[in-house]
Structure formats: structure tokens, C-alpha cells
């Protein structure tokens, strides 16, 4: 049996290593047509003419859809709002002649095969009436408006800052980053006839996609089935229905045929991204190393049509004790697509700035950076004025520092060397919200001791299949092999999008609750067995262990599941349960981490290697240490990319992204990754939810870039405040 808390290999491993796992673009249909998207070449204006003749002349081209000839779509902007939509009016692909950002879709070529569609797309001639565009964040400092999502201020931060013994104030820049999951966004729309569609979509939320398609195309919700059993990564890019989905549906409705649409890698840069930000952090401290004032202001970008906001500035309120704090968040409208959540949205951004600033403050105070964090440690969430459901951050600091050997650090910059390389050690704190969303799960237990657990969540890679199986196996007392999992299908019990690190808590607690229902029934059945040893048992008197219903008082009193079911004349038990967060606002709910990083830098050429990272994480109960460790590893490497490589570059004259491929948008490669140690700190949490689970999908990213940037300062004495830290920025 594989209980909660023990490592298990992922249950879908076999499908993945044999190529049997099927992704959205890989489902077959009879008479399938292929789509290719034509992207706008200007950033703002209007389409004034589209010449389709050359494209339509290519043999094998069936049709080319534009805003002029497409099938009907909803007119109201409201109809395009999905579960995750921020305020504003969502982008409506091929809706009208308006160009809202460079490379937005302007036409869809439909052809008998992909090669033809792709080639014909290059022949569509579009004329534009161009308007002046703005894509540079900095130029919009004065135009930006308040996002109104910052925590309330406390005390008088301006005054306290002015009076502080030691002050640090600086601006930190973060570029646009793109998620770049390895799988491109894609949909295969199966045209079933009679108004029915089955859609294999790359998405983080099948029911979100389903509702969107139904609403945009005025279809009955039940006539649209969205399936996404395997997702090749997303990191947030699949939280909202991206334009590949409505376009593929448009194609299918226009042709009355099944259609497949796969975006190209270049087109993966034509929708949501982590917004570029300019943050100002001002910290005032007493010379003893406690904080008097925190001011954290963010300027972030959004599109012309939606107000995308993240929680960027609030994090210090939960981390560091400080009586005076003020937060600000402004948005600037640019002629770019709307940003979208990207792994630890806001957190990865805001904590980077905060933790670099704390490092700089420590230098100013002549204090060890870890010591400063300990002196400022907060036992309460000051934004809300409440205690934490659990916060084992002190333990993270201690275990992380021990494993890293932090006490051997010489605090002076450029003081540590290894041959011709400069060595730097830096650290940072990580924090992320521990959320739970309303979700339902269904268990079907059959008399042969086999259970099926179902929930509409998707598995974008973290191991949701495995986690769901493991929770069910644990609670039903069955071996892992006896549990099958169904997910990623809009016909299954309700689930929100997979994101926010909430899947384990949301699905896990729903499954646990459904299992309790199963147990209650089983105890009832067990009482019916002739001479039942559990004749007087109440539901809570028994547990499910090794395929049996066992008395908690006396483990020799038990009935096997098949016997109980037979006694009740049942072949199967079906239970559905819905779990919701018990958050009553009395406790703050967060995961925490401490990250320690070592860099080695070639003194002359400034080539940086991140040779060692220790990340100690407190995230409540860990359901599966194997999959959880993998999440942290991947998160840390994501953070490493942030620190050293990742940057979407916009040519502001054209308002166009120029490094839109994996050759020039660098995600970390294997050679960038050296030793990474993951530590899970024991953190029992009785408050947060019945399972005590917090989630680990995002915490690994948060703070990592700061730890690395701080280590680079320690190695070189050069403080780079705009990511990524590329060689030319540490010229020195």
C-alpha cells in the first residue's frame, strides 16, 4: 500500500516513456482538416484589406477565415470572459478588424494537410492602417493608473523611512517572460454533428474551456465536451482559453469538419506572459537590524483591453515584522497581449525585489543576510493582523543553512575564490499562498476491491494522477495499483483550473471526503454480515485497512470489503463529495522556503555558473515526496532561468517580440543545472484543511532568482538590479 507521505513513482510514467500518452494535437478524426494561423505584422491599427487569392490558390487549401467571413461568434464582450479573466474586455480572435497587439491572429488557413496550411498562411497578404503604438513600460510611468489590489498601509511608512538609522532604496526591473511549456498550444476539435463538439484542448481547465466555447459560440454546455488527459506543461499559459481554441472551433463550424490547430513556437509568444515590472523597494531599519519602514511599489504592464493584476507587493507583510508599511501597484497600458499568470505570479516578481533589497539592507547594516531575516521574522501576517495556520520558516532557515554550510561564508564581496573563479554565496526567502478551491470528486468502489477516482482537474505535469490515486488508496486502504484515476474531462465532477498550487489541497480533500462517504457505507454494510464482528460499529469506529473494514478499538475485528458488499447485495459504491476551503479569515495560509545559492564566476569573462542550491521548504504535509521534490527541483530551475537567461525582448519601434524561439529565448538547459538539494521541513498543520496539505507547485520558483542575484553580488561586488543577470551587466 502506498500511503500519503511515502514516495511513489508516477502512475502515468509508463504512458509517458512509451509515447502512449496522447496530447491535444494527437487525437485522430475522420476527414480532419488542419489550421494555420496568420499573425498580424503591426502592433496597433486596423486591418483594411486581406488578399486571400494566393493562399486559396494553393492546392489543398479549403478555406481561409477572417473577421469578414467567419461563422458567427458572440458579440458581447462578456461572453468571452472565462473563469480567470481579469477585469476588462477579453480579446476576441477574428472578431473584427481591430489590431490590439503585434502578432495577434488575423486569419486562419484551413487545409487538407499541415504542410499546405502552413505554407498557404505565408501567402495571405494583409493590409493595415497603422496607428502609433507603445510597448515600452518605462515610457508609461506617468500614464500608469492604480491597480487597487495592494494591502492596506500600516503606520506611517514615509515618516518612519525618513527617520530610520539605515535606509535602502532601489529600483528592481523584471523583463517579460514567456512560459514556454514544451508542448505548443493546440486543439483538435471533433465535429460530431447535431451541434456537438468534442475538443481535445491543451488547457489547465477543461471546464473553463468548455464554458468558454459554449458561451462564445452559443452552444449548449452539454454539447461541448473538452478533454485534456495529458498536458505538456503550461505553467499558467493554459489557465485561460487561448486563441487556438476558439479558432479551431471556428474552423470546425465553418467547414462542418473536424479541425486541428497547433500553434508554432513563435506563436507561443503571441498571448499571455509574465508582465515586465519596475519595482521600487524602500527599507528603513534600526542599526540593530530591525525594520522600521517598508515601501514597496510596483509598476506593471497590462494590455489596452484588460487589467491584469497580480499580488506583487504584499509579501513583506507576512515575512518581516515592521510597524510601518505602504504598498502601491500601478498598471501601464501597452499595445501587447494581456499578461497571464506564470508560475508563482506576483510572488516570483515581488519577492525577487524584496529579497534583493533585504540583501542590500544587510550589507548596509553590516549584518549577515540570514541574521537580518531572523531579526525581522514575523509571527503574524501583518497585512491581515492574524497568526499563521503554520509557519516553519525558521526551521527552513536553519536546515537550509546547515545543509549549505552558510556559517562558513565570508561576508565581504569578492572575498571567496576557487582558482580563477570568484565564488559568491547568497540567500533569499520564499513565500507563496496555500490555497484551496472548491472541487468535487467521485469514487466508485467495486466489490473486487478496485476503486476509480474521478475529478475534472487536469494534470499539467506535477503528478495529479499519482496524487489522486495516492490519497484514495490511503483513505480506502487499497494498494495503489487498485486505484484508477480519471481526470481532464469536462464531464467529470467539477474542478477549477489547475493552478495556484491548489490542486493537491482541493482535489485531495474532496477525495478524502468522498472516501469518508464510502467508509460510512461500508461500515453500514459490514454490520449486515452474518455474525459480524462489526455488528455494533458506528461509521467512525472503523477504518479501511488493507482491503478490510477494521474496528479502531480492536483490530482483530474486521470484515473484508467483498464480504461487506455481498452482505448488502451491492456490486459497487459510488460517492461524490465536494470540498471547500475552511478559510474563515482567522489564519494566514502560506508556504515558505529558504534558498541558499552558490555561484562561480569567471573573473575576466563574467560567465556565471550556479554551482549549488539548497532549498528548504515548509509546505505542510507532503503527499508524495518523490513528485513533490520534482516540483521543487523544476521550480528552482525555473527561477534559475529567471535569474540568468529569460527575457522576452521587444523591438519597440515595431512593437514586436523579436526573440520568439527557443534558440534566442533561453530556458535553462541541463548544463546550467548543477547540484540542487531539496529539503522538506516537517510542518504539521491542523488548521489549513483536513489533509494538512499546502501544495508545492510554485514555491520552488519564489526567491530563487533573488538568492542567485545576491550570490552574484557577493562574488563580484556588483549589484545588478535588472533581470536577467547576463554577462554584459556584470562588466565591473
Amino acid at each position: 500500500m502506498t500511503r500519503i507521505g511515502t514516495p511513489a513513482s508516477r502512475v502515468d510514467g509508463r504512458a509517458k516513456v512509451t509515447g502512449a500518452a496522447k496530447y491535444a494535437a494527437e487525437f485522430e478524426a475522420e476527414n480532419l482538416a488542419y489550421g494555420a494561423v496568420v499573425s498580424s505584422r503591426v502592433a496597433k491599427g486596423r486591418v483594411v484589406g486581406i488578399d486571400l487569392r494566393d493562399a486559396l490558390g494553393v492546392e489543398g487549401v479549403i478555406d481561409v477565415l477572417t473577421h469578414e467571413n467567419r461563422p458567427r461568434m458572440a458579440r458581447s464582450k462578456k461572453a468571452y470572459e472565462d473563469d480567470i479573466a481579469p477585469g476588462g474586455a477579453p480579446f476576441r480572435p477574428l472578431y473584427d478588424d481591430k489590431i490590439l497587439y503585434n502578432a495577434q491572429p488575423v486569419a486562419l488557413v484551413l487545409a487538407e494537410d499541415w504542410e499546405t496550411a502552413r505554407y498557404a498562411a505565408s501567402l495571405v497578404r494583409v493590409d493595415y492602417e497603422q496607428e502609433a503604438h507603445v510597448t515600452e513600460l518605462e515610457s508609461q510611468r506617468d500614464e500608469a493608473f492604480d491597480a487597487k489590489n495592494s494591502p492596506k498601509p500600516r503606520g506611517n511608512a514615509e515618516k518612519a523611512f525618513a527617520a530610520a538609522d539605515v535606509q535602502h532604496e532601489a529600483e528592481y526591473w523584471l523583463p517579460i517572460e514567456h512560459h514556454n511549456p514544451m508542448e505548443m498550444h493546440a486543439a483538435t476539435v471533433i465535429y460530431e454533428g447535431k451541434g456537438k463538439l468534442t475538443i481535445y484542448d491543451k488547457t489547465q481547465g477543461v471546464q473553463n474551456s468548455q464554458a468558454y466555447v459554449a458561451s462564445v459560440f452559443r452552444l449548449k454546455q452539454d454539447d461541448v465536451r473538452v478533454i485534456s488527459q495529458f498536458v505538456g506543461g503550461a505553467f499558467g499559459s493554459g489557465l485561460r482559453p487561448q486563441y487556438h481554441l476558439p479558432l479551431a472551433v471556428l474552423g470546425a463550424l465553418a467547414l462542418k469538419r473536424s479541425v486541428r490547430l497547433v500553434l508554432t513556437r513563435q506563436q507561443m509568444f503571441t498571448f499571455g506572459y509574465r508582465p515586465g515590472t519596475i519595482q521600487r523597494v524602500a527599507l528603513g531599519a534600526k542599526s540593530g537590524g530591525t525594520l522600521d519602514a517598508i515601501m514597496h511599489d510596483a509598476l506593471a504592464m497590462t494590455s489596452q483591453y484588460e487589467d491584469f493584476t497580480e499580488h506583487v507587493t504584499n509579501w513583506s507583510g507576512a515575512l518581516y515584522k515592521c510597524a510601518n508599511a505602504r504598498y502601491g501597484h500601478k498598471l501601464a497600458r501597452l499595445d501587447l497581449a494581456t499578461p497571464i499568470d506564470m508560475r508563482a505570479p506576483g510572488g516570483a516578481t515581488g519577492v525577487y525585489a524584496l529579497e534583493c533589497a533585504m540583501d542590500e539592507l544587510a550589507v548596509a547594516l553590516k549584518l549577515d543576510p540570514l541574521e537580518l531575516r531572523l531579526r525581522c521574522y514575523s509571527d503574524r501576517d501583518q497585512n491581515e493582523g492574524i497568526p499563521f495556520s503554520s509557519k516553519k520558516l525558521r526551521e527552513c532557515y536553519r536546515q537550509g543553512a546547515d545543509a549549505f554550510g552558510w556559517d562558513k561564508r565570508n561576508g565581504a564581496p569578492r572575498s571567496m575564490r576557487d582558482g580563477s573563479e570568484l565564488v559568491g554565496w547568497g540567500m533569499a526567502t520564499g513565500i507563496w499562498e496555500a490555497m484551496q478551491q472548491k472541487a468535487s470528486a467521485r469514487i466508485v468502489l467495486t466489490a473486487n476491491g478496485h476503486a476509480e477516482v474521478a475529478c475534472a482537474f487536469t494534470d499539467i505535469g506535477p503528478g495529479t494522477y499519482t496524487m489522486m490515486a495516492q490519497v484514495a488508496a490511503d483513505r480506502l486502504g487499497l494498494p495503489l495499483e487498485n486505484v484508477t484515476v480519471k481526470l481532464g474531462d469536462s464531464t467529470l465532477p467539477q474542478a477549477p483550473v489547475e493552478g495556484g498550487s491548489w490542486t493537491a489541497a482541493s482535489a485531495g480533500n474532496a477525495i478524502a471526503l468522498a472516501c469518508e462517504g464510502v467508509r460510512t457505507q461500508l461500515v453500514r454494510f459490514a454490520r449486515k454480515v452474518a455474525n459480524s464482528p462489526l455488528a455494533d460499529a458506528k461509521p467512525d469506529d472503523a477504518a479501511l485497512v488493507d482491503g478490510r473494514i477494521v474496528s479502531k478499538q480492536d483490530s482483530s475485528c474486521s470484515v473484508s470489503i467483498p464480504d461487506a458488499m455481498r452482505a448488502a447485495n451491492k456490486e459497487r459504491i459510488e460517492q461524490e463529495a465536494t470540498a471547500e476551503s475552511n478559510d474563515d479569515g482567522k489564519h494566514a495560509r502560506y508556504t515558505h522556503s529558504a534558498i541558499f545559492a552558490e555561484v562561480k564566476i569567471d573573473e575576466e569573462l563574467r560567465i556565471v555558473r550556479v554551482t549549488r542550491i539548497v532549498n528548504a521548504v515548509a509546505a505542510g504535509r507532503i503527499i508524495n515526496p518523490k513528485t513533490a521534490r520534482s516540483q521543487i527541483l523544476g521550480g528552482v530551475v525555473f527561477g534559475l532561468g529567471m535569474a540568468l537567461h529569460e527575457e522576452t525582448q521587444v523591438d519597440h519601434r515595431l512593437g514586436r517580440i523579436v526573440n520568439h524561439n527557443l534558440a534566442e529565448y533561453h530556458v535553462p538547459a541541463n548544463a546550467d543545472v548543477h547540484d540542487i538539494e531539496v529539503i522538506f521541513v516537517d510542518e504539521p498543520d491542523e488548521i489549513i484543511n483536513p489533509l494538512g496539505v499546502k501544495g508545492v507547485g510554485e514555491i520552488g520558483v519564489v526567491g530563487t532568482a533573488a538568492a542567485i542575484a545576491n550570490a552574484i553580488w557577493h562574488a563580484t561586488g556588483i549589484r545588478v538590479r535588472d533581470l536577467p543577470v547576463t554577462v554584459d551587466k556584470i562588466l565591473g
Partner: protein, 499 residues
Amino acid sequence: MRGEIRILRRGEVVKLSGISPTLTLLDYLRLTERATGTKEGCAEGDCGACTVVLRRLRGERLVYEPVNACILFAGQVDGCEIITVEDLARDGTLHPVQQAMVDLHGSQCGFCTPGFVMALFALYHRADTRPVDRQRVNDWIAGNLCRCTGYRPIVDAALAACAETANDWFSTEEPDVRRTLGDLKDSEDIFIGTRERFFAAPASITALAKLYFSHPDATLVAGSTDVGLWVTKQLRDLPKMIWLGRVKGLEEIEDRRDAVSFGASVTLAEAMPYLAALDRDLGELTRRFAGTQVRMAATVGGNIANGSPIGDLPPALIALGATLGLQRGDRPRTLPLESYFLDYGKQDRAPGEFVRVVRIPKFGEGEHFRCYKISKRFDSDISAVMGAFKLRLDGTRIAGARIAFARIAFGGMAAIPKRARTTEKALIETYLDRPDTLEEAIEALAQDFSPIDDLRASAKYRLDAARALLRRALAEIGGASTRRTRVVGFREAADVAPA
């Protein structure tokens, strides 16, 4: 003349006759064969998700070569067996590489997994040439990207699976496969299509010369690691394609006492041991040239012929004094490599003329060489700056020796790979132990180059880095050479042995 491509696939010989010249192997697999296990993550050779293994005869050797199917044209696999991720498990039993990936948690979302599995499968079949240690695994998977796992579990899986000599069902089949592939070999010219639209693979230099002479508008394809992207990324239609991979003679490597020559279809993977034997830095350079899959296809000839300002081999080969053999119709000619590069996108090559061979002289007495590649990301990245230095020193004592002769070339510093002639002159007659005069020469680089800012690096960094590289080369040649001074960038510099 043969009007079809012949491949071995799952035990059967498959003949393809009606293929479009630009059909990629990946589209053939995913769309024609409907074998979707092989993934597409970029369609430009950057991610390795599309890795398949070609089992083929190279001379007498039966080899397993991982390649990126997304930028390989279907015609280029003539005479090979294609092995994809679906083929590894047999009768419900996973291949050792697959089992290790499951046990050690090598996948999260799984989208990169088939590519990694296939790369590791090829490595598994090369464990006999050299033990598979961490460094070798790292080098081997440099061309595979994973956005989820952070790579460590995949490296662990590779080490576990490749610990022993290959012993799987593929090993057992080898005698049969060798025979079948041997039977597929012939010396026919391949021509599929019409005079306006064709895929051709001539089998002799004479046939190639004739065909290209009469179709100077055709696209020559060697490894297609550039040309493939013209189709998948620039959406160009290439109606006439002439592939060099079957031309007898172009695959030859001649290793003589005074020089080593590579025919135009010799791949980087094959050239690697010869380059490494010539000089350790050249070996290190090829190790950092793209990733394994690209090196299996990319040719030395293509790297020169494409005229790229940031190709890795040209600066090194220019510094070494290489010459290029070209041919047009039946007229061959030879020129110094540096004269081939005229200006951005312009080379000294007439219509219908092709690169036949590149000849690299070996070192004479007192000659020393260094070359270094600097890129933004260490692995699988194009150079920001690439510097190559050849010096001849007077006398036998290195310490304090006089520089009698210098050839210095840089990539990434100008519109073409270019010699630093002013700097070369300034170095001649200087002494290695006279830092002040050396510094003067180093400063001369600013007269040779005025680099530009671009995505990969700023102009200032380029010039600074060029100076630092020259300084380093002089220090190393002057005797300060230790492993510590090397531009390793990643753990230890590996000894480069046959890939």
C-alpha cells in the same frame, strides 16, 4: 536512377516515392504514419522533443544516431532504419532506459520524455565505446530541453540505464539489420519528382556536379540543420533540393601526416575525434557545438558554406590556415578559407558551384593554438564571441619566447568570420613575457573590429571579451596554462573521444 526513398521501419522495408522535397521526417512520422509518440516542441532543432534514432551503416559499423526529426527531410533517411519511442518496449516490457526514466522520475508533463528516451537509447548503445559517466551524459543531452523536471532525475536515469553494456532486443537483431541495411545500399542516383520540383540525391561527384550545374537554382542540402529551418520557420518552399548525403567521396575523411581533410558531407559528430586529435580546444569547441542531435546531422561543409558570421568552425579553421576545395561542373578550384567570406550573406561561390572539401594543415614546429567559444547559455547555444589563435614561437623555450607568426580570427565580431590582421601584425616580434607590449597588441583589436549590439551581447562586451580571450590565449601559450584558466563554464572540460 531510383525514384524512391527506402527505409527500414519496424522490420519492414518501406518505399516512399511521391514525397514532397520539403516533407520533414517528423511530419512523415506524425502525420503520415500517425505515430505521435515523437513530439514537436519547436520545429527548429532547439529542443530535442522530436529525437528519433537512425540505425545505419557507417562503413562497416552499425551505429545508432539520435537526430532531430523536425528539421530532417524525409529523403535524408534513405538507407536507414528509423527507431521511434513507440518501438522500444517489447511484449509489455519496458526498455531499460524507459524503466529507469519511470523509476527515477524522469518526467513530469512528459512532453520532452520521448526525446530524452530516444537520446538515451542511443547513448545506451554506445556505452561500449566508453563508460557513461555524468559528464558524458551531460554532453549527450545538451540538445534536449525540459521545462519541468530540472534535469537531475533524467541524468540519474541515464546513469542507471547505461551502466552496463547494451544488451537489449535491438542488440539481438543487429546481424539481421546489418544484412537488410546492407542490401539496401546501392550506387543509384535518386531523383523523385519533376524537373521543376524534385528531391535528388546523386550518388557520385560527377552526377552532383552535372545536376547542380544544370539546376543552379536548386538548394543544396547537407545536414539540413540550417535549411530545415528555412522551411519550418521561414515557411519557404524549396522546390528543388539536392541532398549531398549519398555522394560517394564527399563522406571521406583523409588523415595525413601534414593535414586532415573533410569531404563536404562529413558530419560534426564524425569529424569530432579528428578535430580533437588535432587540438584539444577544437575538440572542446565541437563538444559545445549545438547538441548531439544537431552534430549527428550538421556537416563541417555546411557550417562553412552557409557563410554565417557566427558559425563556430570558420574562425577556428581560418586561424589554422585551412583551405577550401570547390567545384563547378568539372572545374575544381582551391582558395584560402578566409577568402571565401566576402560580406554578410555573400561568399565567393559561383552559381552551380559547391564546396567539396576542407583541408586543415597540421601543426608545424613551434606552433600553438587556442580557441574559445563564449555564448549566453553554456549549452546548445550559438556563440556570442568565438576567438581562435595560432602562434608560431621562435626557439624551443616557451617562457619568454618571441612570436614569429600569428593568425587570429574571430566570429561574432563582424559581418563575417574575420582575421584580426592589425592585431596579428602588432603581435609579431613581441615576447610572451612582456605583458606591456602584449597589451598594446591586444588593444589593436579595436582597430580590427567594431562589433555591434544585438540580442546575444553588447558591442562593449564583445570587444572586452575578445580582448580577454586573446589575453588568455597568450597567457596559456606562454606557460600559464592550467585547467583553472580554461573557459570551462561547466564542471570539467571533458576529454573528447568518439561521440
